[in-house]
């Protein structure tokens, strides 16, 4: 392990700005979040960034590190440093508020836009819904429900970059899990929401989302599921009706 300082380029500014270089001492087991924290506490208190749990559970610390979206608290410097250089920038495809903090509103709005929320028709007076845990639908849903909305997949997607209306991998993944929720009663609206130019058929299975997801979710798989479902619904109809 080298004893030279890390040369860390950090994006300062907003949509316009520049990379500013800071020298950060190396430590064993150092994460990129440690580096950003050091810069803000010891070198430049005006640096803005987000974090919360710092143990890989909340997804708040997601940033672009050496060109790739990652959770900075779960990225060891030793794994990704190039010589002694690091480049830290805000998440792509989202407006920059300041420095490393992005505006996540469009990300969550698209979640709503894909009807990525649950609505049932039972009340507290009805019996529990009985969902078989080993049923096909439940297993498909389970494969995608661990998503915590960190935005890494969204920031990695080239289709999001080229089609501003594209709902994106996270929203579509969530829509797919709800499509497989037998209690949900908005399936037609959901299918309508994820069809169209901005929906699932815009995905080219590039797989950057699946590669990048820190929770090993495969939005590519979920979107493939939606593609089939919507196509069949448009041509033949689905169990909830025809599109």
């Amino acid at each position: 392990m080298s004893n030279t300082d890390l040369k860390v380029k950090v994006w300062r500014g907003a949509e316009q700005g520049e990379f500013v270089e800071y020298l950060v001492p190396r430590n064993p087991n150092q994460t990129v979040l440690d580096v950003v924290t050091y810069i803000q506490r010891k070198l430049d208190p005006t640096l803005s960034y987000r974090f919360a749990c710092r143990v890989g559970m909340c997804g708040s610390c997601a940033m672009t590190v050496n060109g790739v979206a990652r959770w900075t608290c779960r990225t060891h410097v030793s794994q990704i440093v190039q010589g002694d250089a690091l480049e830290i920038a805000p998440l792509n495809n989202l407006p920059v508020i300041k420095d490393l903090a992005t505006d996540m509103r469009e990300f969550f709005n698209k979640w709503k836009g894909a009807v990525g929320f649950f609505k049932g028709d039972k009340t507290r007076y009805d019996d529990f819904a009985k969902v078989q845990p080993d049923s096909q639908e439940r297993q498909l849903a389970n494969a995608g429900i661990e998503c915590i909305g960190c935005g890494v997949c969204y920031a990695s997607c080239e289709v999001v970059e080229s089609r501003p209306n594209y709902l994106g991998p996270a929203a579509l993944n969530r829509a797919w899990t709800l499509t497989n929720d037998v209690r949900d009663v908005q399936q037609i609206e959901r299918m309508r929401a994820v069809a169209g130019d901005a929906g699932c058929h815009a995905c080219h299975s590039q797989g950057s989302c699946t590669e990048a997801c820190p929770k090993s979710i495969a939005p590519t798989a979920s979107i493939a599921g939606l593609k089939k479902l919507v196509a069949r619904a448009a041509v033949r109809g689905s169990k909830w009706g025809k599109l």
Partner: protein, 119 residues
């Protein structure tokens, strides 16, 4: 002062993206080639001799190179396309990276086979 950074090659340097890019690139070139291919073949309406005369044009080395390249493009597009069909219609088993490696080998094999069999 410059604009904020955008997705660059570092975000796309993974196998699955390479598969997408090869499929798109090969598809585009094949689509451009197809009308010319059909035009060439329709010269067969001139009968064997007329057809042979039109084919003589393809003796130029640039056409020979083009034929070789097109066979490779076709092989790559076929293999990549089958992978996409499996990804979208088959049971999910990851991004099928083994398939991408096989597709590349298949493309190379077709290229070599073409060189070997053509005179």
């Amino acid at each position: 002062m410059s604009a904020r950074p955008r997705l660059d090659s570092r975000a796309k340097s993974h196998l699955s993206y390479f598969a997408y890019a090869s499929h798109r690139f090969s598809g585009l070139l094949l689509a451009c080639f197809l009308p010319l291919h059909f035009l060439m073949l329709s010269q067969s309406l001139r009968g064997a001799q007329g057809f042979e005369q039109s084919l003589a044009l393809t003796d130029l080395w640039v056409f020979k190179f083009g034929e070789w390249a097109l066979v490779i493009l076709l092989a790559v597009h076929l293999a990549g396309g089958l992978r996409l069909l499996i990804l979208e219609f088959g049971p999910w088993n990851g991004l099928r990276k083994g398939w991408i490696q096989l597709s590349t080998l298949f493309g190379i094999a077709c290229g070599l086979l073409f060189l070997y069999l053509a005179n």
